[in-house]
Amino acid sequence: MQSYRQVVAGLAVAMLTALGAQAQTRTLTGALRDSASSAPLQVGSVTVRGTALGANVRANGQFTITNVPAGNVTLIARSLGYKRREVDVPAGVTNVTIALERDVLRIDQVVVTGQATSIERRSAPNAVATVDAAELAVVPTVSVEQQLVGKVAGADIQQNSGAPGGGMQVRLRGVTSVNADAQPLYVVDGTIMSDIAIPSNQNVVTQAAGGSNPALTQDAQVNRIADLNPNDIESIEILKGASASAIYGGRASNGVVIITTKRGRSGIPTVTFRQRLGFAQVSNKLGSRRFKTTAEVDAAFGAGTAARINWQPGQFYDNESFLTDGTHPQRETFLTASGGSEATQYFASAQIQDEDGVVINTLARREALRLNLDQRFGSKFITNLSTNVLHTKAGRGLTNNDNTSTSLWLALSFTPSIIDLRQKPDGTFPENPFTASNPVQTATLMKNSEDVYRIISSYKGTLTPLTSSTQSVRITGLGAADFFTQKNGLFFPPELQFEDDDGQVGTSLLSNSNNLNLNFDLNAVHAWTPGSYSATTSAGLQFVRRNLDIARIVSRNLVGGQQNVDAGTTISVLENRQKVNNLGVFAQEEFQTLGDRLLVTFGVRADQSSLNADSKKLYVFPKAAASYRLDNIWRFDDLKLRGAFGASGNEPLYGQRFTPLTANINIGGLPGLVVAGTTGSKDLKPERQVELEGGVDGTLWSGRANIEASIYQKTITDLLLTRELAPSSGFNQEIFNGGEMQTKGVELAVGVVPIQTSTLNWIFRTTYSTNSSKITELPVPAFNTGGFGTALGVFRIEKGQSTTQIVGTDTTSTGEVLVRKIGEANPDFRMSFSNDVSWHRLSARALVEWQKGGGILNLTKLLSDFGQVTKDYADPIPGSTQTVGERRLAGFGKEASTYLEDGSYVKVREISLSYDLPQSLTSGIWGGIRSARFSVSGRNLLRWTDYTGLDPEVSNFGNQAIARNIDVAPYPPSRAFFFSFDITF
């Protein structure tokens, strides 16, 4: 308490000393123009160097700065998408016109440095990645993370399966935890947006968690950042590690993704309309073994099988195609209106996006509305309202692991191509005699729908009580809420083949989840620019509350096959509630001197959280960073050396601090209390990450090329670990803090403009990143995480070994079977290449991503080998009596590496070609059209991989700190083509 008072008091002193004397001044006016077209720039700012003076340009490109010192001054002009320019203004001049050059390599962007501060990229002490609107939504996706794939060095962004509607993992700079949350913190216009993934509860039917891995994350769940409309986004800034994200404190160790949405500008109202139509196709299928003779069929499935099912040689039923074939329509309509006056600006948007999945009965749909409103009250106070109302709907089918042979691709793994599973003319489906379900019937008749209604809103007020030539004070208050309700309705009608397996015909599942995130931020920034240096002091506090309530109903034995959960005779219910309170305070100092060449910054954040065993204890996360710029070194116009250090945390998960008794089981209606198996540590605290980052950034050849190279090391201590207790104690495990993990890596981003003429422009960008992670200290014996046991390959956390190593049974040359390392899930490196070429009115863009290495456990293949239906199962091996499939199976239990495959791939992520219609043509149609564009685009059109499963981007267990890359009957990948036109009025 004392410390907060001191912060506030200190702040007050700083601001009161700000009342400096006023010298002789003048008023400067002027305009910003595009250097190529001479068109006025509608956005931008002009500041007086060495002072806190400045102004934003108005809609006509004009600006006015008052109180400018009378002598020689230097103006710094900036505009989004343009290179910054410094212009000397001699004494006596009161009007200047400044022409700015386009900044295609984004050298002069402004990037965040804290909760309330930002700085020009050229001075930034961290490698903060920025992706802006021009690079987003070129090719539509439902989920926003997919828009970032290949655009950020050091970000590993992969989907968990091809299912429509999202489900993607973002890993920034490698592995950062073993058991804690693995997702970055998302901040959207100041709102801490929830990215939780709530399982659909399909596990009730698949029983995936009933087997040897009890993880309840095999439901192909969507992490909820997918709700956000990518078209609304103006820019995304990514703080990749603790050195940059420390000021976000106890939840920032997986990095922070700061999303800013589009806002209105004063001037002529603008309406844009975008219509896209497209289609998707399955881009890879597994195929199935082709049986040649009845003898082959009978040998595989028992004597008389061919005769019993009336199979004739030559018959081949591609049941996988019956699930996926055809083209699946995609459409998107997006409308925006923006504009405003000097005092009021608005941006409104509406979107409808509709994506048909490639599997029967699957889809993703979103309806989104946004209103962003900015209101200025006089010259000192401005408020920003951001509201977003969303509805997303997904039909995700039934995929991933199961233990009941109901998941579609799992059932296919046991269904030979000798039976036709399609619907019969009488409307019924054939019984699948080879496994428990007919996947074509399951996909056709079942429902798995997810409906999310969400409101995300923030209201920010910024007060600028003081602006003088030497100092300014800015106070920001923000209140934000993110509320959603998620309804999962799953229905398995009595007609399904597997529905009598439990003797209870028909299953209906209903889950309702409510999630509320609230945050209140209060920040104050004081900028002090006496001349030779500038110092920016900021301080603030942030209160965050999260509240989650999941209620689930399982209803079986449905009377009359009704979906309503009250129609079942066997009903069970479950409720899980979570509530979290966090409070953080921070203070930060930025100091810039030597003509803005040297930047030194340091700060500290302290957090308390109800998730820690002691909710009153403050955990302190410091940071410090410096950068120094050099001019005209060798071929560099500008070269910056930077180094940063920072600490951040990763909270325990809700419930980990408790030793619970289970009270929700009864025995024939008789209630009882039993121990739950887990005991919480009495001093549970957050994981702590300390990151060191160093780098060199430079621009070459008059801004025609830039390079950004970083090296980092993250040391994560106090890992949240589970200590396996002797089971004879009656408890399985204790959750405690301990151990140490180190993740190191290198990132490189290069941008080049090989051609830049008035008619032809070519921009080339490439990124490279690699990282590795090692367990350097482990106070518990090596333990397995993820996976299904050593016979199938598992991840093992072991001191001195890679965090992402895969171990499994293996046979030595002497024939001894033992468990040892068989592979590595972390790729060797990841690269991306993008080209933007524009020629006259035509522009083309292509983005290619390359991942080298990364092992995947292809358990789908193992299962289809057991089912004897793998495509190559019956291929002969020269000189052997075994077939390919028999050989693989013979190694089962002895050679887990048989099913470990290389996940290298090259994917053409985005391709687009667009044409801007000439003004003469559009105005011929209707004079109100300001511009019109026609494009064709595609996503994931091509890929090259040796991986024999459906797709090397796979994670049966969803988003995982470590145990991704496990392939068990996932949803297949797809490619999509779009035709679109954009009109601006």
């Binding site: 046991f414 200590r723 104690s729």
Partner: protein, 457 residues
């Protein structure tokens, strides 16, 4: 300016002071601390009832005690196309200590249950609001249930032994592993102490018992269940004199229903657990073909009535070279209870006891009760030798107690495991599960046996 500052300072102070106490308790579960620290009578009674939930844990389902012991004892197959390990681990092996679903569970679930009984036994010494008799009732009940759990533990670990002193801090060094004989000695002690407690427990229990204890839900009747367990333990130990006494004090009754006994109940009710060993379509659970093939014939040439515990399925299920067309109908609904001990076993225990006491005629008389009532067979007409009669007892135990978790144990204690069929050249018969890997890792030094994979014969 000053006003703004004051306002912002006030706001921050307000925000902070309103939230200084951020604490949030467990919203989903009651905590253990309260039950350990200051137990109330109602919490203790609920925890006592909870012992039955713990005791039922891990009994049913594909990886349950009944199912896996049935697979080891070649009573059933679990032919799962999703999970090959019901064959690769349980029939081919070796049995691994590291695997929670294939052996480790029969250790962990039982010790969790024992922890429940110990929590109750500790709390009963601190509780207020219960009479001395009520406390004795809780002690007698908890100790009987703990003995049952220990018996199931030593059943799966046999000569490797087990830990018996486990009422300790769970994060401290666990109690030592002691040899099989000491485990049985503890089981005997617990059952006999429990009997004394129950005899001083008055007319009723203070806590509720499940429907599986219908007829055994007062101290006076529960003690008969206690004695039935004591008889089983005595027979396992070859202590036939004690077995004879215990059987007389048990609920053995040749005139009563053979199904009279004590059960783990299941139901489809909300919050309850269903019997996972119910597989009406034979999706994976299949009878071992030898069950019907090896059955004795009735006078009319049809097989032993008890073979109706299997039914012919509409299809042959084949996985990894194993085939069966037999549905297992022992548990014929999701609410079917699993026996803990019942009259039919007691009669067979008495036959074995009489044989052990060299009363062959009395043994045959008991065998005939079962042969005629359960099997529909003619009375025993084989040789009157001890070996032949024991063969006949083993046969009847196999068919009477089919898929109730007995055959593998019986054949092991009678040194007949070699008689089990091996359905493929690679298949093995195992004598015991090893300890879970975590149990070994938590101990220094590790136990000398039971910590490496168990290869079969």
């Amino acid at each position: 300016m000053r006003a703004t500052l004051t306002a912002s300072a006030l706001i921050s102070a307000l925000v902070f002071s309103a939230c200084a106490n951020l604490d949030i308790t467990d919203l989903n579960n009651p905590g253990l601390e309260q039950l350990e620290g200051s137990p109330t009578a109602s919490a203790l009674n609920t925890a006592a009832s909870g012992i039955l939930i713990g005791a039922r844990g891990g009994m049913s389902g594909s990886v349950g005690y009944v199912s896996e012991l049935g697979i080891l004892g070649r009573e059933v197959f679990y032919l799962s196309s999703d999970d090959p390990r019901f064959v690769t681990e349980l029939l081919i092996g070796p049995l691994e200590g590291g695997n929670g679903a294939f052996g480790g569970n029969h250790w962990a679930a039982r010790y969790t249950s024992i922890r429940n009984t110990n929590i109750v036994l500790n709390a009963v010494e601190k509780v207020s609001g219960l009479t001395t008799q009520q406390k004795e009732g809780i002690r007698g009940f908890a100790k009987t249930m703990q003995a049952l759990d220990l018996l199931l533990i030593i059943n799966t670990r046999d000569t490797f032994g087990a830990a018996i002193d486990v009422n300790t801090d769970p994060t401290a060094e666990p109690g030592p592993i002691v040899p099989k004989a000491q485990v049985f000695a503890r089981i005997v002690t617990l059952l006999d102490e429990a009997r004394t407690h129950l005899q001083n427990a008055g007319a009723t229990f203070s806590f509720g018992l499940s429907s599986g204890f219908a007829g055994f839900d007062t101290p006076a009747t529960f003690v008969r269940f206690n004695r039935a367990l004591r008889a089983r333990v005595a027979v396992y130990l070859g202590d036939f004199a004690t077995a004879n006494t215990a059987l007389q004090q048990s609920f053995l009754d040749v005139a009563a229903s053979l199904t009279l006994g004590v059960y783990h109940p299941y139901s489809t009710g909300a919050g309850d657990v269903t019997n996972g060993s119910f597989d009406p379509t034979g999706r994976a659970l299949r009878g071992h073909p030898s069950f019907v093939a090896n059955a004795q014939r009735k006078a009319d040439g049809s097989p032993d009535n008890r073979t109706t515990k299997n039914e012919k399925a509409s299809n042959v299920l084949t996985v990894q070279g194993l085939s069966s067309d037999q549905l297992v109908t022992v548990y014929n609904s999701a609410s079917a209870p699993i026996p803990i001990i019942r009259n039919e076993e007691l009669i067979l225990l008495r036959a074995e006891t009489q044989l052990g006491l060299s009363n062959i005629a009395a043994a045959i008389a008991d065998i005939n009760v079962i042969r005629t009532r359960a099997g529909g067979l003619a009375p025993y007409a084989g040789a009157q030798t001890a070996t032949a009669v024991l063969d006949e007892i083993v046969y009847n135990r196999r068919y009477s107690l089919y898929f109730e978790g007995h055959r593998w144990i019986d054949l092991r204690r009678l040194n007949r495991l070699a008689s089990l069929p091996r359905d493929a050249a690679t298949h093995k018969v195992f004598t015991a599960f090893p300890f879970p890997a975590d149990e070994c890792l938590a101990r220094t030094p590790q136990p000398s046996s039971g910590c490496s994979p168990v290869t079969g014969q």
